[in-house]
Subunit: 205 residues, 2 copies
DNA sequence: GCAAAAAGTCCGAAATCCCGGACATTTCTC
DNA sequence: GAGAAATGTCCGGGATTTCGGACTTTTTGC
């Protein structure tokens, strides 16, 4: 499970206290004092979430939010607002912040919120990798000539059977449920050499 | 995106107000007054989240929480606690509640919290279906007789081409680099019906 | 080293597949 | 709604594949 939290907070004292809270709960704080310092790690595969103050000199929390969203719209940003500054918080949510916390915030609430965000991030990243895997397999079943695809698959089946049977053609044929002569025919056509598969697998024979 | 919220709250007035808040934000409240009424829809593929009061006669929020987790540990439960009842809230989180809200709660905060939970739920369900798909494909490769394996693969290639071409056989044949008559022959042999692949893919054509 | 079993090779007929061509039907285009 | 283009169906001969059987070579077991 991912656990990085990129902190953007100009008040050094508050930053230190946040870092401490996170470390006590086995999260991995990355402490920065302004947006410029924080930019580098913010990218689409960042394995963590962002915790940023809103009110800061130069770049504020909304700048951070916009930048993060340009890099990855599914990278959660939690913003720290001033006490009971509801309008700002509302605006932040509308602009896509994952959540917000009022300063000063309860450490437990902070950690709970971050854990939810990390959980979310984790699911998003997992989802992406699953999707990539599915796409990759789909690609495999959709590139090259029909004949090529069929032949590749045929070769794979035959070679796999040969590996399991230590390169013995007749045994491999029996395993695949086809007459041995047919097996030889196919191997000739595909130019598969049985000898090459002897001793490849340890439990062969 | 899923949007159901199963509400368990014995106070009818509060329940009505929650329902109203949710409907204003295009969520789908399912309103119930106690655990017994709520049990039925709670199952592992429930397309929504649970919002439950903690303090109720007979069964309380922790009973709900435990029951939900027995049905699906990844089904978010948001609990409503009394005002500033921090210890109970902490306990709920420890037992696996997704979040908690203090009564009376701000409608905006309520909706934000529920949306996060719904988002989470959505990702979990999506993740599961992806995983199922990957498992299914894995199973397909490497079992059955030779003929079965070849035929399955052949069918996959042909069906995928048909999907890409919106069920047009001639186009699919061209894509695969085989004469259209051969394509028909193969489809007849495999009992693949072209019509079944029309409109499956949005960019077909 | 001998017999038996398995592995590998060659042949040919039957079965199957490939694929062009002719034709019917549907869909598009103006 | 006529003509064109694409889709779908049917046929048949030539090419390929299948697969049993006969044979040779290699491996196995004693």
């Amino acid at each position: 499970m991912i656990s990085k939290v990129l902190i953007i907070e100009d008040d050094a004292a508050l930053r230190a206290s946040v870092v401490q809270s996170l470390e006590l709960d086995d999260l991995e704080p990355i402490s920065t004092g302004n947006f410029t310092q924080a930019r580098r790690p913010i990218r689409s595969n960042f394995k963590g979430v962002i915790l940023s103050d809103i009110k800061m000199p130069d770049y504020d929390g909304f700048d951070v939010l916009r930048f993060v969203q340009s890099r990855d719209p599914d990278l959660p940003v939690i913003l720290l607002t001033g006490y009971s500054d509801v309008p700002t918080a509302m605006k932040a949510m509308k602009e896509g912040a994952y959540d917000y916390l009022e300063k000063p915030c309860d450490p437990d609430r902070l950690v709970e919120t971050l854990r939810r965000a990390l959980d979310h991030r984790n699911l998003v990243l997992q989802n992406r990798s699953y999707r990539e895997e599915i796409d990759a397999r789909q690609k495999e079943t959709g590139s090259g000539t029909f004949e090529e695809q069929m032949e590749n698959h045929e070769r794979q089946i035959i070679e796999y059977a040969l590996i399991l049977e230590d390169g013995k053609v007749n045994m491999a044929a029996k395993r695949l449920g086809i007459p041995r002569n047919t097996m030889y025919d196919r191997m000739t056509r595909l130019r598969v050499v049985a000898k090459a598969f002897r001793g490849v697998n340890d439990d062969g024979g």
